[in-house]
Amino acid sequence: MNTSNRRNRWRSGLLLALVAVTAAACAEDKPLNIFEPQGPQADRIHGNTLFILWMATAVFVATFAGAGYIIWKNRVSEEEFNDGEFPEQVHGNPTLEWGWTALPGLILAVVAVVTVPTIFALEEKNDADELDVMVIGQQWWWEYRYDVDGDGFFIDGNGDGVVDELDEGLPLEFSLDPDDVSTAQEMVIPVGQQVDLLITSRDVIHSYWIPRLNGKRDAVPGRIHTWSLEADEAGEYTGWCTEYCGLSHARMRMSVIALPQNDFDAWLANQMLPAAQPDPSDELAIAGKELFGQQCASCHVVDDPDFSYPTILRDSLGDPVLDDTDHEIPTSIFVSPQVAKAAPNLTHFASRSAFGGAIYSQYAELDANDDDLNELGIETYTDLDANYRWNTAQLRRWIANAPSQKDMAPDDRRGMPSFALSDEQLDQLVAYLATLD
């Protein structure tokens, strides 16, 4: 099948890229270290940081040396202190004092002059034809949307006949384009290209941070913030959500995978395909699909004609409609699974390397928190699949009882509930999920 060829192609590309990075950064063991920038934005910041760090160090050394000297030189014993002799009673020295008012002022003026351009530089947008990715935070995972059909991330949500800024201001469930590619946990970008992000959130404030590529930018519900990333080299770059976002804030992580352009294109092409169908001979997976349709498809979207997702909210003209039955829903939960609020889109679940807020690797024995795909000393993807593919045990634990794997509040509609599934059913579901690449 040609689709599977395409899939193979991007995956081998990923692997090649990973190997390359492994060679480049072998000694790294601090994946989030801010002193190892790997993109131009991070580089800029790095320069800025070093500059101020040295300044601060200089002031630190000077102050401490001065203080140490003064104390060492002037300290006296108790008897001496009380001997009735007094040091010269200096009340001040305005010249000196103006001096040390002005000097730090000058130093800081220099710092400001260096900093301000950097601040603006970080906000520069890419060229119109380059990739934009929409980043949506929610408790406690990240969704990424790729505008593959080139009509923008939004549709005419307010029904006024045009797609404009007004639609962008609407709550996401009314205006996100359901035809875009939606993926989760890891963002895939092309190498060497500035990717602009549109960052927002569906619930509380989160913050998107890939330390090696750029600083943070908050994901604030109701606002769309722009930010950008660029990776100099292919590879995996991990990050953490850095704005406290409630219960599982500590387990809301993410990564960026930078691929060479060709592989990226292949990856994207794959993502645009509908979900793969399980092989007719694979009974386990077929049973799993059925079960998925019953238990899981109410929250998780898998782009497969066998599952039907109601496109509520829209009448024949595409106008949003709130009828009597659904007008109570909007207050705090998702309205339409296509613009997923409830759960990650699983259409291409098996093509990702991490799940559950990127805290679990899909590969056995690997750690999703590390950029350890980079360190994997394996040559071919068959190797990877054969030796590491499917962290089945973890996935089973997750499906059986996600809240035991990660703090969640499914009762408050935040997170995935636990299910009473038999071992057999778990096998079926895992088998089905494995087909979704």
Partner: protein, 262 residues
């Protein structure tokens, strides 16, 4: 130590609490709600429940007060005063009209049970007020042998309660009364009525200040004003609010249903 007064108050407090819980249950609250002051679960009719609770709390407070004060215990008083004896308490000089008032309160209560909740609540309020006033009065009448001192003592205990309560009631009556009038008349009418009342107050004040009116005239005017507010309020409430058109979303250009705003 625990005198009859204190016991009485604690009793009232307990009874009121029980009544509150019973009332809550009867009016459809849940047992937990009734016990936990509505923390979890409902309490049925809020107003009645709240009032009974307040009665309970108030009596509890009074009970504690009278324990601390050791009301009318001649020995304790002597001790406190450092005397061998205190003048014997004398029969109260003041005429107490709290008896009839409490009768009125009970009447309201009974009528209220049969007829309407408003009367019931009124009855309870009257009874609570009576309870507090009467007992403090009774206690203060025996506080010392000097009736004038006793009167002062009474005022000092009840002042902090009476002044704010009376103030609030008066103020509430005025504000609610006036607003009923404004609501009863038309939209333009409300502007006119409001302005007229303002000018009357303002002009009246000027008149009173500048024209050397006699005390009597002034109090007459004030009483008339008060009655006017009260009467206006009652009439206004009886007439009811004018028709006020409910906002509808028709003005905006999408046709969704705007009626369901909470």
């Amino acid at each position: 130590m625990f005198t009859w007064g204190a016991k009485f108050f604690f009793g009232v407090s307990a009874v009121a609490l029980a009544a509150a819980i019973a009332y809550a249950l009867v009016t459809g609250g849940s047992p937990i709600g009734a016990i936990s002051i509505g923390y979890k679960g409902g309490v049925g009719d809020h107003t009645g429940y709240g009032i009974l609770l307040a009665v309970s709390a108030a009596s509890m407070l009074m009970g504690v007060l009278s324990v601390v004060v050791r009301d009318a215990d001649a020995d304790d008083l002597a001790l406190a005063a450092g005397l061998d004896t205190v003048p014997p308490a004398q029969p109260p000089r003041t005429l107490s009209y709290w008896g009839p008032i409490s009768a009125f309160g009970i009447g309201c209560l009974i009528v209220g049970l049969a007829v309407s909740q408003a009367f019931f609540i009124l009855g309870i309020i009257v009874l609570v007020v009576t309870l507090i006033e009467w007992t403090v009065l009774a206690w203060s009448d025996r506080a010392t042998g000097d009736p004038d001192v006793n009167a002062v003592v009474r005022d000092r205990v009840l002042g902090p309660l009476e002044v704010p309560m009376l103030g609030t009631v008066m103020f509430g009556v005025i504000v609610i009364g006036l607003s009923r009038v404004l609501l009863a008349v038309s939209k333009t009418g409300s502007v006119v009525v409001g302005s007229v009342i303002a000018i009357v107050i303002f002009g009246g004040a000027i008149a009173m200040a500048k024209l050397e009116l006699s005390r009597r005239v002034i109090s007459g005017l004030l009483v008339a004003g008060g009655l006017a507010v009260l009467g206006g309020g009652i009439i206004g409430a009886a007439v009811g609010e004018r028709e006020i058109e409910h906002y509808s979303e028709h003005g905006s250009d999408h046709g969704e249903d705007g009626e369901h705003s909470e």
